[in-house]
């Protein structure tokens, strides 16, 4: 029978299935410091051990400082953050888990380093106590976030209790315009289906515009599947996937490589496969996107305006929008390109890979941030991304343009470390969530692509990167 990619991946991992509830086997478990301490503690209390320690790769990313790290973990100024990072180090040592510690050159955001190391491979089931685990679906993997109880469950049993998701195919056909990125595609999809549009579904992104994306772009897109409500997003394996995976430290080598590639080539939806739902977008219609409100679905094109209440679909949305206007300090019908900003953040598991930094640097090159910009941060996704960018001179372009060049981590995407917005500050951010307080209590977040963030930094307000020079 014809199968979707999701069905192939799910079926290949079923240990046992009864009355619609399945036990599925997990190939790769990524771990960070925030959602794992209680899981390790649970194992300890129940006197359980790890089922397969080699399946786990751990890294501290949420709490780590992005400034000077020469004093090591002891130099983390917030004692509670320090304890959380130390706890991860101790747990990994106790349980024999591979960890890239804070000052390891390979350290970085968990969703950047997994693929970078080849620890994420096509056909895998990948989990992490982090909702943006959907990122790894870019490789034709079944990847999603789990809670801490499930982290403990996977540690102890190598399995997860799951129900099958419905399948949603998001088709994006045609060619993206110059200056329009995977981030804009992601936001345009969320704008169309809403943040609950994917609830209960696994999304497969398909169509010529998706096939035309690099792996970095595909990761950006799958990363934001969760912002559309879908735990998992995925893209079929093709040459782009296989070329990216080849010769990575954890990738298969020699004869295993050929066997793996032969299997990976089967990881696509069959032509006759049936999806539970299909949504289509025309790539040429997608503009650079800017969110105006406090949910990723509150988004318009750069040419657009903050929508007025009469455009709301019902009373609940109307109330939502009214609260968003007040929180964001914006009025209905304000032109997006008239919105001035205070800070800029280029980074996060959505947009901190080398291609993102190259794109932002290309915009910033030879220019300077506007006088009203208090802080413009560039936070690479990993130590290896940082090193690569430095070898290409991108750091110098950013520094000359007035940006700060930082150490890798989650940083101001969620402001668990010292990088944050103050109340009332407005930020152009390449991250994934514009929720109230996400980047700091009272902070106002506008989600954009790296190019759009860089252009906003130079102009001091949002501008259309397609015509900006």
């Amino acid at each position: 029978m014809a199968k979707t990619l999701y069905e192939k991946l799910f079926d290949a991992h079923v240990v046992h299935e009864e009355n619609g509830t399945a036990l599925i086997y997990i190939d790769r478990h990524l771990v960070h410091e925030v959602t794992s301490p209680q899981a390790f503690e649970g194992l300890k209390l129940a006197n359980r051990k790890l089922w397969r320690p080699a399946s786990i790769l751990a890294v501290p990313d949420h709490n780590v400082p992005t400034t000077d790290r020469s004093a090591g973990v002891a130099g983390i100024s917030d004692p509670i953050s320090r304890l959380q990072v130390q706890t991860l180090d101790e747990n990994c040592a106790t349980y024999g888990v591979t960890e890239f510690k804070m000052n390891d050159a390979r350290q970085g955001i968990v969703h950047v380093i997994g693929p970078e190391q080849g620890a994420t491979l096509p056909g895998m089931t990948v989990v992490c106590g982090d909702s943006h685990t959907s990122t790894h679906g870019a490789f034709g993997a079944l990847a999603h976030g789990i809670g801490t109880s499930e982290v403990e469950h996977v540690m102890a049993t190598q399995c997860l209790v799951q129900k099958r998701s419905k399948t949603l195919q998001v088709l994006v056909e045609g060619e993206l315009g110059l200056g329009v990125t995977a981030k804009d595609v992601a936001l345009a999809i969320i704008g169309k289906i809403g943040t609950a549009g994917g609830n209960g579904y696994a999304i497969e992104f398909a169509g010529s515009a998706i096939r035309g994306l690099s792996m970095e772009g595909r990761m950006t897109l799958c990363n934001m599947a969760i912002e559309a409500g879908a735990r998992a997003g995925m893209i079929a394996v093709d040459d782009t996937t296989i070329d990216y995976v080849k010769d990575r430290p954890f990738s298969p080598k020699a004869e295993l490589w050929s066997a793996a590639v032969a299997y990976w080539r089967t990881l696509h939806s069959d032509p006759e496969a049936q999806f539970d739902a299909i949504v289509s977008l025309n790539a040429a219609d997608i503009q650079p996107q800017v969110t105006w409100g406090t949910s990723p679905e509150m988004v318009v094109g750069i040419d657009g305006r903050v929508p007025s209440l009469d455009m709301a679909k019902n009373e609940v949305q109307r109330a939502d929008w009214e609260r968003a206007y007040a929180y964001m300090g914006l009025e209905a019908n304000t032109a997006i390109n008239a919105i001035h900003i205070d800070k800029v953040f280029i980074g996060s598991c959505t947009n901190s890979r080398i291609e993102d930094l190259r794109a932002a640097a290309a915009v910033a090159k030879g220019k300077h941030i506007a006088p009203n910009i208090k802080l413009a941060l560039v936070v690479p996704g990993s130590g290896l991304v940082k090193a690569q960018a430095e070898s290409e001179g991108l750091d110098q372009i950013f520094i000359a343009a007035g940006f700060e060049w930082r150490e890798p981590g989650c940083s101001m995407c969620l402001a668990m470390n010292a990088d944050r917005l103050e109340a009332g500050e407005r930020c152009a951010s390449t991250s994934n969530r514009n929720f109230e307080g996400r980047q700091g209590q009272g902070g106002r977040t506008h989600l954009v692509s790296p190019q759009m963030a860089a252009a906003a930094a130079l102009a001091g307000h949002f501008v259309d990167v397609r015509t900006f020079n």
Binding site: T21, S81, V161
Partner: protein
Amino acid sequence: MQAFKQINGLVVPLDRANVDTDAIIPKQFLKSIKRAGFGPNAFDEWRYLDHGEPGMDNSQRKINPDFVLNQSRYQGASVLLTRENFGCGSSREHAPWALEDYGFKVVIAPSYADIFYNNCFKNGMLPIILSPSIVDTLFAQVGASVGYQLNVNLEAQTVTTPGGEVYAFEVDAFRKHCLINGLDDIGLTMQQQDKIKLFEQKHQLAQPWLFK
């Protein structure tokens, strides 16, 4: 895990859609390495007028009198009534931990984000889905009647209003079984370890590169 069968609970109405887990428990409290004690910081940014940080004495903080959880008529609530897509965003299980620690046993909404929904069951909390029109009705009734309580019966899968209206809800049979009996998921899965080992051997033969 605590077993859940039936409760009569005071209801608090949180009339917002798309309440995200960052709002339920802000990030600064995620630095804790413990599982308990998040209740005083549930909805921290809405509940208090100052900025909350871990370690603060919450009893000394200025509360926001406009926030519904702070109103005297809703003190002691154990049923949270809210709108669509509750618990969206981050997968942090600290969100159900915070709600449970606050005293909630049941959430009622037209829909939930998937990860949050799943996390609730792991913590002895029941997320109930009722249709938007029934949720509308309940919002109207709660607002109109101080001390409004709902009876939630998991075994019968019903929500009963003080006026005697009975609303049925769906729940997955396995999750219901675990919740009613307070069963530990890991213990149940460990009973299948022979099957897991057998699967692992087959999987390793088929895809040996996964085990390098």
